[in-house]
Symmetry: C2
């Protein structure tokens, strides 16, 4: 057990998007120095930190220098290339660890891991070929969902198979890449838990929130979720078991499907993200210690916040042109607008979010 | 009336201390770029911004380049030298305006201004010499307080005169500088209002909080203050009158003495600070829009937050060695620790603060 990092220590973050920016902001507010490493010159996080390096992850020499200049290294996205990390893991503690990344980067490894932990999840099969797919569809039945094992996000890299005529071309349509076939879950709600685990094994979760997606992109997160307390507890227990089994340090987003009926809901883990998560942005205005500070606390060996919330919140993502409404949103006394400083607003691009709060009854 | 600044605009801040750092953090979270100008190379705010310039304020060429590179200019301390600002005021809007700085930099100008506004304040006399002082003490009576007109803070530049024997050397003891003599106010409470005024004249104040000083340095700020609602209203009305008379844009801290008795309290304005204020740090964890975002909203022409608070808060400054207790403070689930990233902890130096929150009854 290492001593906690003292104020003034340096927190290195791989990735320069809005999550990196908000992590850097949290680290600074705690008295740490933040250092950003990202390949894109217009990275939003560069605006939030006095020190940053714009280099590719594959530039091992620059990455090693960066690693040596910080006291702990973390990341803001799960598709950090693993090989460069292996190159620097002797130089600096990497939190969460590389094994969490490896697990989350590959849906098959992830699902097998979740199966081992014993949390409920949809039936699945590995699919390496079109022939595999035919056999797997017979096993799981229709409808079902074919997903690439790697690099899927926001609905990219997946196809729903509804009828037998969808099957023959599906594998090739996803580029002939290794896939996972999942039984279709007739869910009535999508939810997520933002959980954290400290270096001492302490865990703390925020209450499970209700997510609503549009075009496969998160649109709103709502707290309270309106789901029965039994299922909130079940989700928390499952989430914390996942973190423990990974010997995880940091914040993780765990997404669930809720199927069955609202009266008798059933929980299934959809996927895990080994990082701060869009569905946790509500914590910025609903909890004393938000997910960004919680992550920095965890990786710095500090005590965790307890995850309680002081206000109810609806978080709404500002996607593409939504952002043009910033002035009206800022005029609502119950809302706080968070914008990412991205120059160009493209369709489907997350430009910011707004938290609308209300008192807890 | 100018249009509000769009996200992506550049906010320039003169001064690199913790107030500048927290302003930069707020600006970034709103999607602005922050630029810092400060003369000290180890300025905490440099850690919070992707762009900063380390030059003296008197370097007019650098200051002009800085002014031209931003869309609005603000400052984090009231002793910004006025002459350099005059040099750049045609290049960029300066908010709050120079006249607010001139008023707050000189206690005599400030008191005459407050008198003109019609807010209650202690009796005072201008003192230009030891002879003036003798005459003024006869007018105001003992005890009374001699203060330099300029550059006083945290109890520096002032002497309490309790007996006639204190009078002869007092003026020289303050360096023979122009002074103000104030009648001693037998206050039982020190308080402050954090008020804001937007470019459209809209005003919004946070509820008046109770301050406790130790060795002339703010130690705690407490909300609610425990004072009767009538006096809270009176303080708000006085504060907002001050902002209106200055045609002020931004956040201001207005400090009050409360004299009389707790049952029949009387309010007197002590002094004003034309900037975000230490006694407003509680807003970071007690209000949706904190004083830092409120200031950025004001100077950017955005709608103001309404100043309501969702939680009660005790803010405690971490001064000098207090900072060594950061780990224990972070372990309290009701507290959030804010540290300034100052390398060296000297006695009397503000190193951070902690907000301890509780639910509003």
């Amino acid at each position: 057990m290492m001593a906690p990092l003292s104020p003034g220590s340096r927190i290195g973050i791989l990735g320069g998007g809005q999550l990196g920016a908000m992590l850097a902001g949290a680290a600074s507010e705690m008295g740490f120095e933040s250092h950003i490493y990202a390949p894109e010159s217009n990275s939003p996080a560069f605006q939030r930190s006095g020190t940053s390096i714009c280099k590719p992850y594959e530039d091992l020499e620059s990455l090693a220098r960066f690693a040596e200049s910080v006291d702990v290294l973390s990341y803001e996205f799960e598709n950090v290339p693993i090989e460069p990390l292996r190159h620097i893991e002797r130089l600096v503690p990497i939190r969460p660890g590389i094994s969490a990344l490896e697990t989350a980067q590959d849906r098959l490894i992830e699902k097998r891991f979740l199966q081992k932990v014993g949390v409920p999840l949809a039936q699945f099969c590995a699919v390496e070929s079109s022939d595999d797919l035919v056999a797997s569809v017979q096993e799981l039945g229709l409808p079902c969902v074919l997903k690439t094992r790697r690099f899927g996000y926001d609905g990219k890299g997946q196809i729903i198979l509804r009828s037998t005529s969808d099957v023959p071309n599906a594998f090739e349509a996803l580029g002939g890449n290794p896939c996972v076939l999942e039984a279709f879950v007739p869910f009535f709600a999508e939810t997520s838990v933002i959980a954290a685990r400290g270096m001492d094994g302490q865990v703390a979760s925020y209450e499970m929130a209700l997510n609503h997606h549009e075009n496969h992109i998160l649109k709103t997160t709502r707290l309270p979720s309106g789901l029965p307390s039994g299922i909130l507890t079940e989700a928390t227990v499952a989430s914390e078991a996942i973190l423990r089994h990974l010997d995880y340090v940091g914040v993780m987003g765990i997404e669930f499907f809720v199927s069955g009926t609202p009266e008798q809901p059933t929980l299934l883990v959809n996927e895990i993200a080994p990082r701060v998560h869009n569905s946790g942005h509500w914590t910025q205005d609903g909890a004393l210690i938000d997910q960004f500070e919680q992550h920095i606390r965890a990786i710095a060996g500090w005590p965790l916040g307890d995850g309680k919330h002081h206000s109810n919140v609806v978080m709404t993502n500002l996607i593409g042109e939504d952002m043009d409404g910033w002035h009206g949103l800022a005029a609502d006394p119950c809302s706080r607008v968070h914008l990412y400083g991205k120059g160009e607003s493209r369709p489907g691009r997350k430009m910011g979010h707004v938290n609308t709060v209300s008192a807890k009854p």
